[in-house]
Each structure stands twice: as structure tokens, then as C-alpha cells.
């Protein structure tokens, strides 16, 4: 029997790659993204690759009313419901510094929106007694840096939420994977200076699948970011506060 994967933020490069991977494994996909017209293309792509059911639904992390149709469609499918959450936005920190209201948007897209969404979905998963949530956090959430600390703070909040949700769903037979990607080759990072060891979205998608299969709690992808972040986290604050990395 096919499982159903909700892909939140399906038009992101990582979301797209992961949706294709689960479609090719024969699972249903519900592709939720802001740009529904474009996501229709992805839905047809997933159907051609083997998803028995592939549907595009418009969603806006800043409008909780847009979540209900996704819950309804998921509830209408039999079998296990999973969710992979790729949403988030990262304006330049300088832009947020100039207009603090921009930061609210980032926090909604990357933190409060997905938290609200997952909180609405959790009862259904508990009721089914199974299912995995893959939450995309960020290495930026491991330590606040001058370059993107609003986004980093939102992701740090999301990490903590995912940890709590894991605690909750585990007792109902579900699971939560927290994912902290390093640099991934997406439209968001294309042409940015200072990128190194950039991973392809397809490689990340594979890592996510393996992590979900193995019930991993927190993964870095590619794996070596665990060690990079270990070093960055262990820099004493009196030094770190003067650094710009």
C-alpha cells in the first residue's frame, strides 16, 4: 500500500528532489507551495515518475487558513501520512536591518508557519499511529552569526519545536527527523559569494530518505557539516562575537 507524503515547500529545489524520490518509490505526494501553477508541473512530473496520486495545493505559511485543504486531502488517503517541511525564506540580513518588518516574514515562513502547520497535522498522525516528519532546519540555527541571525534564530526555534514534536510523536508510533543542511545548490545560493562544498539537491534528498528509513533524530547533510558546526559551536563567545564567518 502507498504511503502519502506531504511536501511543504514543494517548489524549492530540495523539496522537488525529495518529492521525485518518494514518487519514484511509488508513494502519493501532496505538493504544497505558494506558486501553485508551477507546482502543477511538479505534480505531473511526480505522477509520471510513479506516484499513484500527485496533487498540487496552494499554501502560504503566512495564512493558516490555507492549511486545511492539505489536512483534508491527507486525511482522505488511507495508510501512513508523512510530512517533509522545506519552507523558509532568507532575505539579506542587511535588508532586515533596514526594515525590521521583513524579519517577521522570515520568522513566519521559517518558524511559526511550519510550527502551526505541523501542530495541525500531528493529531492525524497520532491517530494513524505512524508517519515521519522531516523538518528542514539549518546549520544557521546552530549559532547566531552577524550574516543571517534572524533567519538563524527562526531555524533554531524550529529545531527546538521539532525536538519537542519528536518527543510527542514517538509515543504515538511516529517519528521526527531534524535536518540541518549546509550549502545546497539551489536558486537561493546560486551565484552567492563564499559558497563551498555545495551539495546537490538530489544528494540531500537521498540523505533525507535514508535518515527517515533509519529513524535518525538529527542529521547534517552533507554529513561533514556536523564537524564543521562542532568547531563553530565550540568557539568561545568572547572570540566568536568579534568574528564574521
Amino acid at each position: 500500500m502507498s504511503d502519502t507524503w506531504i511536501i511543504l515547500g514543494a517548489s524549492s529545489a530540495m523539496g522537488r528532489a525529495f518529492a521525485r524520490l518518494v514518487a519514484a518509490k511509488g508513494h502519493n505526494v501532496i505538493l504544497a507551495a505558494r506558486d501553485v501553477a508551477d507546482t502543477e508541473h511538479s505534480a505531473r512530473d511526480c505522477a509520471a515518475r510513479g506516484a499513484p496520486m500527485a496533487k498540487a495545493i496552494a499554501v502560504d505559511m503566512r495564512d493558516a487558513a490555507s492549511f486545511q485543504p492539505i489536512y483534508d486531502l491527507a486525511a482522505a488517503q488511507s495508510g501512513t501520512i508523512h510530512a517533509a517541511v522545506f519552507v523558509g525564506s532568507m532575505p539579506e540580513q542587511a535588508e532586515i536591518d533596514a526594515d525590521p518588518a521583513l524579519g517577521d516574514g522570515t520568522i513566519q515562513d521559517s518558524f511559526t508557519g511550519p510550527v502551526h502547520f505541523l501542530h495541525g497535522l500531528a493529531p492525524l498522525m497520532e491517530q494513524r499511529g505512524s508517519g515521519t516528519v522531516i523538518g528542514i532546519g539549518s546549520v544557521a540555527g546552530d549559532r547566531g552569526r552577524v550574516g543571517n541571525y534572524t533567519y538563524g534564530a527562526a531555524k533554531a526555534g524550529f529545531h527546538t519545536y521539532l525536538s519537542g514534536l519528536r518527543n510527542r510523536l514517538t509515543r504515538a508510533g511516529g517519528h521526527v527527523v531534524t535536518v540541518k543542511p549546509g550549502f545546497v545548490d539551489t536558486a537561493m545560493t546560486w551565484g552567492l559569494p563564499g559558497m563551498f562544498l555545495v551539495a546537490s539537491p538530489e544528494a540531500v534528498a537521498k540523505d533525507l530518505w535514508v535518515a527517515a528509513e533509519k529513524n535518525k533524530n538529527t542529521i547534517y547533510t552533507p554529513f561533514f557539516w556536523r564537524y564543521i558546526m562542532l568547531i563553530i559551536r565550540s568557539i568561545p563567545e568572547f572570540l566568536f562575537k568579534k568574528m564574521s564567518i
Binding site: A13, D35, S42, A47, A48, R49, W190, G191
Partner: protein
């Protein structure tokens, strides 16, 4: 849209370009790029020379527009974005009973690239070129409008786009007719050909759906033009193919890796691997159609200097005499690599600038060693005087005068293209080098 300044090369790695590269992930983002500035499209960068190069200019990388957007399992009609690769199409749809009707020698090529170069495969004598199986093209043009071209509507623009090396605009998506695929395994019969005349007779006499010859370009004397003929038919086997693991060439190989004694020895072993009476083997579709794709970055075997690929097609009337002349010069120069292919071509062509014509096609790699460029130039001259053609997807050394004599529909193509793109926004290093677009 952010532009990424990058240095990149064609597959042969001899010619280089530094360009501003945009990489949209949605058709809408591609349109946004065009409101800023129209620019030529690039795909998987599997053409060898400079078709995809636009030094000091801008290009649009299409590889992220790679979705299947419509598939009819009854008719085998597939609509896909321009950046999907042939391997992706084959591996997704072969298990569902369909495969591309024409496939080039590498599965990494994109749909848009296959159309823009009107590529051919091992079945050209029967199935024609890739473009003959294209039902429609959605083309984003210099004016920012997307038009749907079919062989019937916008016929001229369709013919100028197929094989038109990107000069009419960007292929956003296209509809192709696939052909039924009864199995994921293919029966390959391999036989030795002991010399050129015998080889050409065998190629002419072959009735196989897929037919290709490997040629030993180091052989001399009586063995000149010897090789192995591969004839293949799809099977009815329902077994899953055993896919070999891919490997990557980790670094540029040193110069001696493909030096003349190594190549001669390799070719001898490769030839003698097939018993004198021939043999039949079952292969996976991937292994048969894309023999080199299992070795990622195999172009690095030629080292840092890169390599030239020469490919010509020669009409029946002059083919044998010219091939003999070419092979003599090649074996005398001792510069050839083991990668050399002789194939029969048919009449099929879908665009003004389609490469194949009825006759024979020869393709060879030469490491970019001293004397290699001169040899290829000589081969280009022989091709021109024999009434043949060189292939834009491979070429980096032909001249404008030679090419003008090779492509009889060039003037018609220029008229259509220069009207479609009057500001010449889609010119590339190739079109400038060969003056393909003509005088301004």
C-alpha cells in the same frame, strides 16, 4: 535573477568561455531573465566544441527545468521541460513500455540540446534524427514571447529551431513521440570486419534496427579500417537489467595515458576480444546506448589539454575513397584514441542545419597534442571537398567558408533566424566563429 560568473568549457575542454550564467528553476523565472535580457540556452555541456559557449556574454542554464509535464501511457507522447536528460526519460519510461525513438551516444544530453543539435543515434538509417520525433516545441523568443511550434504551424521556425543551435530562442519544453520498448535488455550481435571495404559492405547490408561500428583508427596496411560491427534489436525479455555501477575519473590523466603505443595495444585487444566467428550478448539499454556514461567525466582521460572530436558525414558516392584517405592520414599521424565510430546514415533530417545525410559517418577523438588540430583541419578540408559535412555539436576547428559549402539550406536558415532574433541576442562562440548567422 542572480547571475553567476563562471568559467566553463564544452565536453572537449579545449575551448573555454567566461560568462554570466542564470539558472532558473521555473518557467516563470526564465521569463524574468528574458525581461532583463534574452540570452542563449545551455544544457548539459555535452557538445564538444563551442556551441554552448558565449565568452564575455550571458547564457541561461536550463538543467533545473527538468520536469515531465505530460505523459500519455497509451500513445507514448511525452511533454517535458527542456532540461530533462535522455537517461532520465529512458529510465523513467522504459519500465512503463516506452523509450525515446532516437538517442544520442550520451544519456546526459538534455531534451533541449538534442533538439537544438538535431542529434541522431544508432538507428539513424531507419528512424532519422531526433527532430523527426518532435511533435511540438514551446520556444521562448527574443521578444519575450513563448510560441508553440509544430512541423505544420510555424513550419519554418520549427525547422530553424531543430538543429538550429539555439539561435531562435530557448526551448522551454517540447512534446516528443516515444516508441514502444518491449524490454530493458537488448540483443547485441558483434562481428569483426577485417578492413574498410568489408566494413562498409557489412554496414550497408545490415537490416538491424540499431547498427554501429567501432573502428580501429590505428590499424594499417591490409587491416586499415578494420573494426567491430554491432547490430542490435530490442528483446522481449522481462528480466531486470543488471546495471553496472558508475565510476568517476578523479583527476586529469597524464599525457601518456592515451599515447600511441597504449592506444595501439588497447585497440588490438579490443578487436580480438570478439571471436572470429562473432558473438551475441544481452546488454542493458543503458550500456548499449550510452557505453561511456558509466565513466563520469571520462573527458578527463585526455588530461588537462583536452581533446578534439572530429565527426563527418560523407555521401555514398565519395565515402569509401575519402574514408580510406582519412584513415591513412590518421594512422600515419598516430594521434587517434580508441574512441572511433563508423556508422551508416540515412536520409532523415528535420531541420535546415541537420547534420546527417545519406552515407557514412566517421567520428574520432584526438587528444589535443601537437599536430592534432592540424590533422583535424586537414580532415575538415577532405570532408568539404568530398561533399560531406562536419557536425556543429563536435566541431571546434572548421572554417566559415568550409561550413557554408556543407549546408545547402544555410541561407534559408539565416533568413528565418535573423528575422526571429534581429538583435542577435542568441549568438554564441560557435556562430561567431563560423559566421553562421551571415553578414549583419
Amino acid at each position: 535573477m542572480r547571475w553567476n560568473e563562471m568559467e566553463y568549457t564544452g565536453w572537449g575542454r579545449v575551448l573555454k568561455a567566461k560568462a554570466q550564467v542564470a539558472r532558473p528553476e521555473k518557467p516563470a523565472a526564465l521569463k524574468d531573465v528574458f525581461t532583463e535580457t534574452p540570452a542563449p540556452a545551455i544544457g548539459a555541456l555535452r557538445s564538444y566544441g563551442d556551441t554552448a559557449l558565449n565568452d564575455a556574454g550571458k547564457v541561461v542554464n536550463m538543467t533545473r527545468l527538468d520536469r515531465f509535464i505530460g505523459f500519455d501511457a497509451k500513445s507514448g507522447v511525452l511533454e517535458a521541460e527542456g532540461g530533462v536528460t535522455i537517461t532520465d526519460i529512458l529510465s523513467t519510461f522504459a519500465p512503463q513500455g516506452w523509450m525515446p525513438a532516437v538517442m544520442p551516444g550520451t544519456g546526459f544530453a538534455t531534451l533541449g540540446g538534442c533538439i537544438a543539435n538535431d542529434v541522431h543515434g544508432k538507428n539513424h538509417h531507419g528512424a532519422g534524427t531526433f527532430g523527426e520525433h518532435v511533435l511540438s516545441i514551446d520556444l521562448l523568443m527574443a521578444d519575450g514571447e513563448t510560441r508553440t511550434l509544430t512541423p505544420k504551424d510555424n513550419k519554418n521556425l520549427f525547422r530553424a529551431t531543430v538543429g538550429g543551435v539555439g539561435q531562435t530562442g530557448v526551448i522551454v519544453s517540447a512534446k516528443i513521440q516515444m516508441k514502444p520498448c518491449s524490454s530493458r535488455l537488448i540483443q547485441v550481435d558483434e562481428r569483426r570486419a577485417n578492413g574498410l571495404a568489408e566494413f562498409m559492405e557489412m554496414l550497408k547490408a545490415s537490416t538491424a534496427t540499431y547498427c554501429v561500428g567501432w573502428i580501429d583508427a590505428t590499424a594499417k596496411g591490409d587491416s586499415l579500417g578494420r573494426g567491430i560491427l554491432e547490430e542490435a534489436e530490442l528483446t522481449s525479455s522481462q528480466m531486470d537489467p543488471k546495471l553496472r555501477k558508475s565510476r568517476r575519473v578523479p583527476m586529469d590523466a597524464p599525457g601518456f595515458a592515451l599515447s600511441p603505443p597504449v592506444v595501439r595495444q588497447f585497440n588490438k585487444l579490443y578487436f580480438n576480444r570478439i571471436p572470429a566467428e562473432g558473438r551475441g550478448v544481452l546488454r542493458s539499454l543503458e550500456d548499449f546506448f550510452f557505453p561511456l556514461d558509466k565513466i563520469h567525466d571520462w573527458n578527463r582521460l585526455y588530461g588537462k589539454r583536452g581533446f578534439h572530436q572530429f565527426q563527418c558525414v560523407l555521401p555514398d558516392a565519395t565515402a569509401e575513397e575519402t574514408l580510406l584517405d582519412m584513415l591513412r592520414r590518421i594512422s600515419r599521424a598516430g594521434l587517434a584514441s580508441p574512441l572511433a565510430v563508423l556508422k551508416r546514415t540515412g536520409t532523415g533530417q528535420a531541420g535546415h542545419l541537420t547534420f546527417p545525410m545519406q552515407g557514412f559517418t566517421l567520428a574520432l577523438d584526438f587528444a589535443n597534442a601537437p599536430g592534432a588540430a592540424e590533422l583535424v583541419q586537414e580532415l575538415n578540408r577532405l570532408t568539404a571537398s568530398a561533399g560531406g559535412r562536419v557536425y556543429f555539436a563536435k566541431d571546434s576547428l572548421a572554417t566559415a567558408t568550409e561550413v557554408a559549402g556543407m549546408y545547402p539550406d544555410l541561407a534559408d536558415w539565416q533568413t528565418v533566424v535573423n528575422e526571429a532574433d534581429p538583435a542577435r541576442a542568441f549568438e554564441t562562440d560557435l556562430t561567431r566563429r563560423l559566421n553562421l548567422r551571415g553578414a549583419k
